[in-house]
Symmetry: C2
Subunit: 467 residues, 2 copies
């Protein structure tokens, strides 16, 4: 003890980093051990998963290779009723895990109201509300129909959708066209401006883009995403480069296939005015990629993370279509003037499919502008991405991060690593007002909640036992 | 001395870093002093410049504020003969400082041959060669006519040029349209493929773009450059984002102003096929910005760095149109298959106007892909940019580098800092074959040579003395 006070201190700290920070400030050589207590799971489950680790690892390699090999292309467009498998005229799709009309959050109810007015099934919000409550309208998650939607994720029968095909696996995914920012359906707004924009998109934008993609045959989304990561996008909250690259492909085709010059210019101006236009295609590309890895017995690979504004749901490759849900968290956000965290709805939307595919928050080192947006530094963006390598199975050699010397993005979340290391997926997100009809109030970042991953971990153990 | 051998060593090394590297490898705490001997200049000149430092600093602040305040816009197009001040039908402009036909390097002579065939003044390379040697053709630097050209920088009377206006200062600059990669005039190629492409550009692309820019009125190049730096470009060797953003502005205007749909699509496809299309506009934007800072008595600000493939020339704000020249260096490059450094022409082109304006190699931290291209790491790219802050006067708050937490680019080279610190400007560049008619053989990076900066430093002293 007397020696301890004489010698130069060299400290290893385990646990709360504030201790080592204080020592460092006094010039004492201090190493902070990167350790945190494991999540609360029964020892029995942990030991069982551990005993199955070889089987799980093999299944994970099989699943992640399919994910990495996926080659999503935009191949066509059509009306939801004609294209989406199982779509019906009285069915409305929504983001996240299953939820009844009664339990839906404000922005999702707002989106449903917008859809019912858009479909001509209601004239006013009150009528739409009554119809939605009547039992005549059915609701289902987008994910049950190979579809993904940002924020409220509402898809109704007449809406035009992109068709995205994984040409390595022949599976398809679907998404509506992005409406832009401001008052829009996906953030729960439903006034006449919202409905008129959607009608213009159906009447004018959709035929122009449909003709263009028919003219081109297909557009390689994987290539666009790969390039966009070299250009400051993480293709979730930032899509400026991907939208620009898509636009470069589209413009000559729109001109050649659309005989109405005014309409062609309008269609291109609409896309030029919306840096998020690529988002829905990015999401559909991720969905088509992850679906190819689904239904791999024994795999702890996360194939879906999706939020309905009330609950955060997770699906695993090894657990079929089973949902594991927990309470959706509130994002840390930069709020638009006049709004604060009190106005914010809990996390909502299928857009976390990008993180599930190794993009978005997982690739945020490629997009420091997003972290700066919430007061962070470019070093923070790098650290967030580096941490995601801890909970993923592979690195995507096509999707690369310039600031990490073009290292592949951390890809394929392993629920076992999430639970055993207590490191949660990092997600970029937009923030909706909690009341129907208002719209977007901010944008930010958050960590996924632990609850659905804990349940998924236990669910996987049960699935393996019964197989 | 006996104590020295007992105590733990702590070393400061000055000079050759290999000494400190060796000590570090043995675990000895070593600090490498960032110092190098000053360049070889007479003590008298050094003392005189030092005695004038207050005047010089004031002049520099005045000059750099004009540079930072410049707002370059693309405002129109026209034929070189009609737009470029002092242009004549028997005048050919070239890159870099003045040079006679006889002293021109291979690729520049190749570019002149291409221009004479393009103008119909010669039918064959031999005829062009004879005409160029005859004395009937005059030659002058682009920079003498407010113009900039990449590589050989050849501009002849019929060539269409962009007109770029600095709307803060009302001065204009000019540049031809970028031809793309492969066999092109600017790299000294002159076969029929080159001439036909130039003729198509004059006949079809130029009227389409001229109509589009008239329709739009103007395009803000400063805004595009600022965004492109957030998207992986340094707008010299990488222009993919800037070209994409320009294209987004242009496409709807091309459609609305061009009644021939086939031609409109062809024009856009040409731009879409050439990620370097923005380069010439980037250079003209830099030229218009720097010209506003020119002719500031007493200023040591570098307003031009330009190479003619034989000599590297520098101009200063405080020395009017006087050139200070030295031998042009050979770039470190990645060579195309079949070529090596032996095939390379020394550094050539006006494109180092981008570095002079704080972009290109000065902003390379925004564009790690370029450093990777020659085997470097993203950390090297950051270090190159950080070093350029040592020799510049200001930071450009509009042009920012994401990886440096959106710090402004190092802007406004101070010749006194270059000479006194022995830190040379870092430049990105393309590499031309040394013989006429071949074309591009690689791309790379290099440091400017010291000689022109030493001469400029002494020239400044003489200018101040005589003013």
């Amino acid at each position: 003890m007397s020696n301890l006070l004489k010698e130069k201190l060299q400290v290893i700290n385990m646990g709360i980093p504030a201790f080592s920070d204080a020592l460092k400030q006094q010039g004492i050589a201090t190493t902070q051990l990167d350790w945190r207590p494991p999540a609360a799971i029964p020892l029995e489950t942990r030991e069982y998963i551990s005993s199955q680790s070889k089987t799980i690892e093999q299944a994970n390699q099989q699943a992640v290779q399919k994910l990495l090999a996926a080659t999503p292309h935009w191949v066509g467009m059509g009306r939801a009723l004609d294209k989406i498998p199982g779509m019906k005229s009285n069915l409305i799709l929504h983001s996240g895990p299953p939820i009844s009309w009664q339990r839906m959050c404000g922005p999702m109810q707002g989106g449903v109201i917008a859809a019912l007015i858009y479909e001509g099934m209601a004239q006013t919000a009150d009528q739409a509300h009554a119809l939605a409550s009547s039992g005549e309208i059915e609701f289902a998650p987008c994910h049950h129909h190979g579809t993904v939607g940002p924020m409220a994720g509402i898809v109704s029968a007449s809406m035009p959708v992109f068709v995205v095909k994984n040409e390595s696996g022949a599976n398809c995914s679907y998404a509506t066209m992005n409406e832009g920012l401001g008052k829009v359906l996906r953030y729960g707004a439903y006034d006449s401006e919202v409905i008129e924009r959607l009608k213009w998109m159906e009447r004018e934008l959709y035929p122009a883009l449909q003709a263009a993609i028919e003219h081109l045959g297909k557009i390689d989304l994987k290539s666009i995403i790969a390039q966009a990561l070299h250009m400051g996008d993480e293709v979730h909250n930032r899509n400026r480069a991907a939208t620009s690259l898509l636009y470069r492909h589209l413009a000559p085709a729109v001109i050649e296939s659309c005989s109405d010059r005014g309409l062609a210019a309008q269609a291109l101006n609409f896309i030029n005015g919306n840096d998020h236009f690529f988002l829905n295609l990015s999401m559909a590309a991720c969905k088509a990629s992850l679906d190819s890895a689904g239904n791999t017995a024994g795999s702890s690979l996360v194939t879906v993370m999706a939020r309905n504004g009330v609950e955060f749901g997770v699906q695993l490759a090894g657990c079929g279509d089973q949902w594991f849900v927990g309470k959706a968290p509130l994002p840390d956000a930069l709020f638009f003037p006049g709004f604060s965290k009190e106005d914010a709805n809990p996390d909502i939307g299928d857009s976390s499919i990008t993180e599930t595919c190794g993009l978005g928050g997982f690739a945020i080192a490629a997009s420091p502008a997003i972290v700066q947006f919430v007061g962070g530094k470019s070093r923070d963006a790098i650290d967030y991405t580096l941490q995601m390598y801890e909970i993923t199975i592979a690195e995507n050699s096509i999707y690369q991060i310039p600031a990490l010397d073009f290292r592949g993005t951390p890809t394929g979340i392993d629920v076992a690593k999430v639970v055993e290391k207590s490191i949660l997926p990092f997600i970029d997100t937009g923030v909706a007002h909690k009341e129907a009809g208002v719209g977007q109030v901010g944008a930010g970042v958050l960590s996924a909640p632990m609850e659905p991953f804990l349940k998924a971990y236990q669910g996987l153990a049960e699935h393996i036992k019964t197989e």
